[in-house]
């Protein structure tokens, strides 16, 4: 399928620190891409660079084959960017803010008013539309912000944390709304919520220190990660000697001690029984064994954990 957005060796340095390190990939038209990563992993910088208002130090970003730095006006007209924080004009009501935004994109008054009415209905904030943004809850501000982003009907949407600070019901409404756009809009969103990323994506990019740590569809990524299991064994008392002995088993991956719990990963289930043989004399409180999911995949792919 044709790439809607493509990056060629894009690098960005902020305050002497590399926030994007030579990224190259393409995003298919009409697909939803989730960008996941810990704080300061470069998620936000990636979206701002694609939007064209953060200039990369090297490399180029193309939207519909047009360089966003060289042909910014053309690319800006098809891109909608939603920041993480509500950035309304506090001296205008939500309706006036939306009107202003529509006018910026040259929308006719009739089309503008129709779009405002339909989006405010769909996103459930119509009753607050004549209020000032700062008087709304952060959840309603987020909905209004989403409506503003969709107002001029852009076909590439760059959304930072679309459901942060929303209650569960509102999260479902927003995801329903975004899912409806699948196929017609290219949506790239950042999130720290692993569950959201697991649920809504055609493609998943895990970022760490400005680099793409993993890229692909979740089931493929898990497949490529191989058979990885996560074990937690809770002892009544986990001595240092026992911990050292268990950690030395060569098939144990990333062992750690959390209180009296021995936490480790392994490629085979049998490793669990090898460990239990070493601890046969110890009193066991509980144990847990899981096949690795996105959360553990991220934990093992990035240096810093995310929530």
């Amino acid at each position: 399928m044709e790439a809607s957005v493509s990056l060629k060796k894009v690098g960005k340095v902020l305050n002497g620190r590399s926030v994007l390190a030579g990224l190259s990939f393409g995003i298919e038209r009409g697909s939803i891409m989730a960008v996941v990563g810990p704080n300061d992993s470069g998620k936000s910088a990636l979206l701002k660079t694609i939007a064209g208002f953060s200039k990369p130090e090297y490399g180029s970003v193309f939207i519909d084959g047009k360089d966003v730095q060289l042909r910014r006006i053309e690319t800006a007209s098809v891109v909608g960017y939603m920041p993480q924080r509500a950035n309304f004009d506090s001296q205008l009501t939500v309706f006036e803010n939306l009107q202003f935004h529509g006018r910026l994109y040259g929308m006719t008054p009739q089309r503008l008013n129709n779009r405002i009415a339909s989006l405010s209905d769909r996103l459930g904030f119509r009753e607050f539309i004549h209020d000032f943004p700062h008087t709304l809850s952060s959840g309603y501000q987020k909905r209004a912000l989403l409506a503003r982003t969709f107002l001029p009907d852009p076909h590439v949407l760059l959304i930072e944390e679309p459901t942060a600070s929303l209650d569960l019901r509102a999260q479902y409404e927003v995801w329903d709304f975004l899912q409806d756009m699948r196929g017609s809009k290219t949506i790239i969103y950042t999130t720290q919520s692993i569950r959201e990323a697991e649920r809504v994506h055609d493609r998943l990019v895990i970022m760490d220190h400005g680099k793409v740590a993993l890229d692909g569809k979740l089931d493929r990524l898990l497949e490529n990660a191989g058979e990885l299991f996560h074990f937690q064994i809770h002892f009544k008392k986990l001595s240092k000697e026992l911990y050292d002995n268990m950690s030395k088993v060569t098939t144990v991956v990333s062992p750690s001690q959390v209180g009296e719990v021995f936490d480790f990963y392994a490629r085979e289930r049998e490793v669990f029984f090898d460990i239990m043989k070493l601890a046969i004399q110890e009193e066991l409180v509980d144990y847990a064994a899981d096949k690795v999911g996105l959360e553990t995949l991220i934990m093992t792919s990035t240096e810093e954990p995310i929530r």
């Binding site: 064209g52 006006i73 950035n87 205008l92 202003f100 910026l104």
Partner: protein, 250 residues
Amino acid sequence: MTLFMAFLNRRLAQLRHRWIGELSLALLLPIGIYITLGFGLSGGIPKLQGVPQLGWLIPGIVLMVAFAGALIALFHDLFHNRGINGFFCSIYASPHTPTSTVMSLMFSMLPEGIIRSLLALGILQTLLGYSYPFFGQFLFLFLVALAVLLGGMVGLTLGILARDAVASQIVILLLLLSLGFCSEWFVPLNVFPTAIQPLLHVLPTSILVEMGRDLLLNQDSSPVLILVVLGTIALWTVVNSFLFPRISTE
């Protein structure tokens, strides 16, 4: 034009929400300045033939209202909506060049600035009990428009560059005070040392007020000097266009 209309409608909406404060300021500010300066500086103001003495002061006050109104409004808009909530980032992300955005912002101040100045001119003539020639007043509005653009430019630059609210307000206060005196708005330039008078005469703000007095009081000045004002506005537009993208990186 689309962008200009967007900014104009935005400004009108903002004014609609706080029209009482804006109207009070528009009515009281010129009266306040007129009374204060009229009492305080009447000794230093030149005597005029056939026109009440304080008639010399009014063009300066009106041009200051136009200049300061645009400067403060745009500074506040940029400073508040740039740093605190990042609203101007969403404007920068829209499909417009920094130059067209800067020019539209500046020109969107014109209707408000002209109305504010017309009100000031009307009120001050009533207080003075004297009416300037109608044609002179009509042409004077062109100078008012230039003062609005000039003030808007300064406000934009300060709004983009300012880092600290208190320090910026002090800078604006000092700037307006110094321009008020050094641009012949409130006192004639001959009160300054002879060495710096030629320099003060070519300040765009001095040129505007000298031409304003020429139109309203039939004094002599060269209309060619208007090119200095137009050139300053054009140059400042270019500078602001280069500065404007800074707001997107915050």
